[in-house]
Symmetry: C2
Subunit: 362 residues, 2 copies
């Protein structure tokens, strides 16, 4: 069948090479005669997979040695609970920056465990949706931590600034849809977490990077499967982890290293985003209403000037092998999610299609 490019926001496209390898060894992994998903997580063979994945992840993000990496159940949403349950300690409030759908969802969950102080960072610049710069975020005295979401998958909004609030502020962030897509300075954060299903692997695995001095103060009410200390003490095997997802994540990390690592991914992601936003901006037919400084390189929502053409656009793009372009119901229109696994050729195929569609219907 013809080449398909899948712009799904998550679960999302995986690198084609990774899927091919997984397929090849699915029934007979490492000549064992069994699948990697059929072996014990406590056996030597799987522990090698697990440790190598962790090491590669640390290499890719230059994670300092005073940070622990946890492979967890529960998705990004699970971390909305885990974060206050693990980091509040004896404090009763935390700062939550609201700049989009997911940041707001984190606030809602945090209310179960504390009185979050919400910093509304949404603003407009020349009528375009934007986020107030970090220098304007008014932090609260006595807050246990600051939480923000550097890439809003649904809104297509990114906060690319590097946090610089001083050593006293524990910065935590939901990197679900941007992890590994650009270089970050992990040392500026207390906790980074990310659901796997965008840039890491299949749904059902969540990665947490936590500074080790933040361990050991989980609430008694924290379910053990979400307790960072319990997970850390058990090498993320307090209970059976999602082993196949962990293995696939490991393959993705190897693929990233082969491709030149995060710096090279960042370059390609920039190219892809410039190409797509360029076509949108140089057209009266398509529009994106996010201010340039806050445009996401991962999730590009765009609208057709004439929304009555939406369904035709979706129908024709699907027929052209460009899948899952329908925008989130909250935002409408279209959305192209262009994570690491989306090659430049995929965005080229999309922009070629968009130009052609505009020519025919504009």
């Amino acid at each position: 069948m013809a080449q398909v490019f899948n712009f799904s926001s998550g679960p999302a496209m995986l690198p084609a090479d990774v899927l091919k390898q997984a397929q090849q060894e699915l029934c007979d992994w490492h000549d064992l005669g069994t699948s990697v998903m059929e072996i014990s997580h406590r056996g030597k063979a799987f522990i090698e997979v697990a440790e190598e994945a962790e090491k590669d992840f640390c290499d890719l993000l230059n994670i300092p040695s005073n940070y622990k990496v946890l492979f967890c159940h529960g998705g990004g949403r699970g971390q909305f609970s885990a974060l206050p349950l693990n980091i509040l300690g004896d404090k009763t409030t935390a700062d939550y920056v609201d700049a989009g759908y997911w940041a707001a969802s984190a606030v809602k969950e945090a209310k179960k465990y504390c009185t979050p102080h919400v910093i509304d960072a949404k603003t407009t610049v020349d009528g375009l949706r934007a986020v107030k710069p970090m220098s304007e975020w008014k932090l609260t005295d006595g807050a246990a931590y600051l939480h923000y979401c550097p890439n809003e998958t649904i809104d297509g909004i990114a906060i690319d600034e590097t946090p610089n609030f001083g050593d006293e502020v524990v910065v935590t962030a939901d990197f679900s849809s941007t992890i590994l897509s650009r270089q970050i300075d992990v040392s500026r954060y207390g906790v980074i977490y990310a659901g796997a299903q965008k840039n890491i692997g299949p749904a059902g695995l969540t990665l947490v990077i936590v500074r080790e001095d933040l361990l050991g103060k989980a609430s008694v009410a924290c379910p053990s499967i979400l307790d960072y200390s319990v997970l850390n003490e058990n090498d993320s095997m307090f209970n059976t982890p999602p082993t196949f997802a962990w293995y696939l994540a490991g393959l993705v990390f190897k693929w990233l290293k082969q491709k030149g690592g995060v710096p090279q991914m960042e370059r390609i992601n920039q190219q892809k985003a410039e190409l797509l936003y360029g076509v949108i901006d140089n057209s009266g037919f398509y529009r994106n209403d996010v201010a340039k400084a806050n445009r996401s390189r991962m999730n590009v929502p765009f609208q057709l000037a004439d929304s009555s053409l939406d369904s035709l656009f979706l129908e024709e793009s699907f027929a052209a092998g460009l899948h899952a372009l329908k925008g989130h119901r909250v935002v409408g229109g279209m959305r192209a999610s262009i994570y690491n696994a989306m090659p430049l050729e995929g965005v080229q195929a999309l922009t070629d299609f968009m130009r052609d569609f505009e020519r025919r219907h504009g």
Copy 2:
């Protein structure tokens, strides 16, 4: 390579036909040109997979219509927390029957949320490990529920009695290692849960069957990803579920239906267990120290009379294509886990090997 039979306790063997189908369609599912793990959980294609899996599961277990099935993150251990968080309501205690490692682990987690009343059901019969019959379990007035584990994966102990405590008692049970292996009367339970990685699919998915009148009383402290009502209201898609595991579970359910469903599985499982226990009992070389009434049909621990032969047994059995027979560190010796996916031929191969090993070393 030669046929391999994998006796891993979990993650465990999957039906060979299921793995083959998954392999075949891993990169191009339903002619979509993408993998099933790359598509949105909210799209029509995946929702069909999800609904069909749920329906097949309900068919297989004859689940009454006043029960809800939830597809969850977090493993069986996650349910150790979820159960008190969802079912305690305004009560402060629950009865926990302790008959093995996992039942005791559930007690430990429950202590975070209530004062569990532990019913020690461990006993001996003619020097063999056994469980007191249900008629001797002394329940507590005012307990929110009764919890037990009908199959102890590590101890090789099963409680096959059907609960009959009257309508007032909410019976909850950890069916992780026995679900779908034998017929059960779901209507006798308030909550049944099971980690997938033994009889359902790959690790990282947990199934919960909950009677609908028990919904709606989760503690405020319950993380939303473990809140039965939230999961139910969102068709188990409050957050991105482990989609690939859900899909694979669906394939396993179809396979079970093709094979004659749970009644036929029960017959085969009984045959397999009788064959293996028979060889053990008719030998002075091997022994199993569980009383007959409480022997697990799923997990068969056995010891060699001369434990200095343990490593040779493991080495030779592995070479013969009989994998993962090492017993849990708590119990030692050997353990053969013979879930639904293990064909009778696998147990025949194992018993042939055991007889031959005894002949050579006995």
